[in-house]
Amino acid sequence: MTDLATVRLTVNGTPREGRCAPRKLLVDFLREDLALTGTHVGCEHGVCGACTILVDGEAARSCLMLAVQADGARLTTVEGLMTDGALHPLQEAFRDHHGLQCGFCTPGMLLTALDLLRVKPEPSAADIREGLSAVLCRCTGYHGIVKAVQAAAPILRARAEQQSRP
């Protein structure tokens, strides 16, 4: 039996630490060891995208990483999107445009869309569809989700501009 490893990382701006077996998946570490259950476990083989989080700012599948691999990393999960009790503009857009029904895929959709909008701040509808094909939704047929991401794009651009101003 392999010894437990210590994992120290920053999640949503807060330093966290835990001990786990090397075979523990990052998504299970987040949910079971750090009690952050917003990140969902779907297929466990990288297809459904429900477990997508940001690792050092880039969207990645947390079911395809070991927790020990995230030692020293900065993670963002769905729990980190709200500020001061207010929803993130992308979350607001999902609510306003009926971008979710059961909500199972939503954390993965949100983090995937955030990464997409950072890489492509002015995406076409086709860009959004291609980007969101990384996450499977079985309820909404994607129309509401695409609309939400489209609506959030200018808001996030304005926000980024504001933040970059001295």
Binding site: M1, P22, H45, G46, L64, L66, S133, A134
Partner: protein, 287 residues
């Protein structure tokens, strides 16, 4: 499911990684980007005694130009390749193929070395390596050696790398100025593995074709260079009739298998259709 138990090592240097691989004598797996190995572990399709995680070897992530070649450290992420200005300039075929590799969140982790060493017959990078006559550098206990694309791939998911060798670098000749290129692929959903993919490059010389390159993904156990189809273009030029003849020849050259995703006949048909599409686009882009 969850991965089975294994001993976990995260070496900081290539030498250390090669030592570890030698110590386990073929019972260790190299963990690169993990986008194929982790699903196999989660499904318990593989049960290695140890994982040698090479993600902490900083010296394995780079893109540099080197005497007409572009050299990639094996751990260079597909995402880095997608957004690299150097790749866009020197290897636009690789850049275009990268957009077909899974999805952006997969490319954040997936690596060029991992994709090639995994040797999935449907994967895009082995086809590009084959089309561009690239090579890989492997390091083992007896030092480094270079393997050409044509000698690297043995069969499904199998390369000629030894169990104690680590793929450390991928080298692709920079595409000639003015070369036209295209990567065409058909999959049932965007981001899925290709049922068939075609990598194409043509170098024009007026109405003539100086060089044509064609390689497949998904049309057999290993990426296949379609030399006899290339020769048609190099002999007859880049007109519509030559493209149609090359595409028909391409479909004859492949030996696909049937599986749950597609029949052999369908793959053969797709090879012809996609070769014609890829060549048409590549010729439009060639200067």
């Amino acid at each position: 499911m969850k991965p089975p138990r294994f001993e976990y090592h995260a070496p900081r240097s290539v030498d250390e990684a090669v030592d570890l691989l030698g110590r386990y004598g073929g019972d260790a797996k190299v963990l690169a980007g993990g986008q194929s190995l982790m699903p196999m572990l989660n499904f318990r399709l593989t049960r290695p005694a140890a994982l040698v995680d090479v993600n902490r070897i900083a010296a394995l992530a780079y893109v540099r130009e080197d005497d007409g070649m572009v050299a990639f450290g094996a751990m260079t992420r597909q995402r880095t390749i997608e957004f690299s200005p150097e790749v866009a300039r020197r290897l636009p075929l690789l850049r275009e193929a990268t957009r077909w590799v899974g999805h952006l969140p997969i490319r954040s982790r997936g690596t060029i070395g991992g994709s090639i060493a995994h040797a999935d017959p449907s994967a895009e990078y082995p086809a590009v390596l084959t089309a561009l006559e690239g090579e890989v550098v492997a390091q083992g206990p007896r030092g480094r050696r270079t393997l050409r694309a044509a000698e690297l791939f043995e069969t499904y998911l199998t390369t000629r790398l030894a169990p104690d060798e680590l793929l450390v670098e991928v080298r692709l000749p920079a595409m000639p100025a003015g070369a036209g290129h295209a990567f065409e692929e058909f999959a049932r959903r965007h981001g899925d593995f290709a049922i068939v993919g075609i990598a194409a490059m043509v170098v024009r010389d007026g109405a003539r074709c100086r060089t044509a390159r064609l390689a497949t993904a998904g049309a057999g156990p290993v990426p296949l260079r379609l030399r006899a189809a290339e020769e048609i273009l190099e002999r007859d030029g880049l007109g519509d009739a030559a493209i149609a003849a090359a595409a028909a020849r391409a479909a004859e050259l492949v030996q696909p298998d049937s599986d749950v995703h597609a029949s052999a006949d369908y793959r053969r048909h797709l090879t012809g259709v996609l070769t014609a599409r890829a060549l048409t686009r590549a010729v439009e882009r060639a200067r």
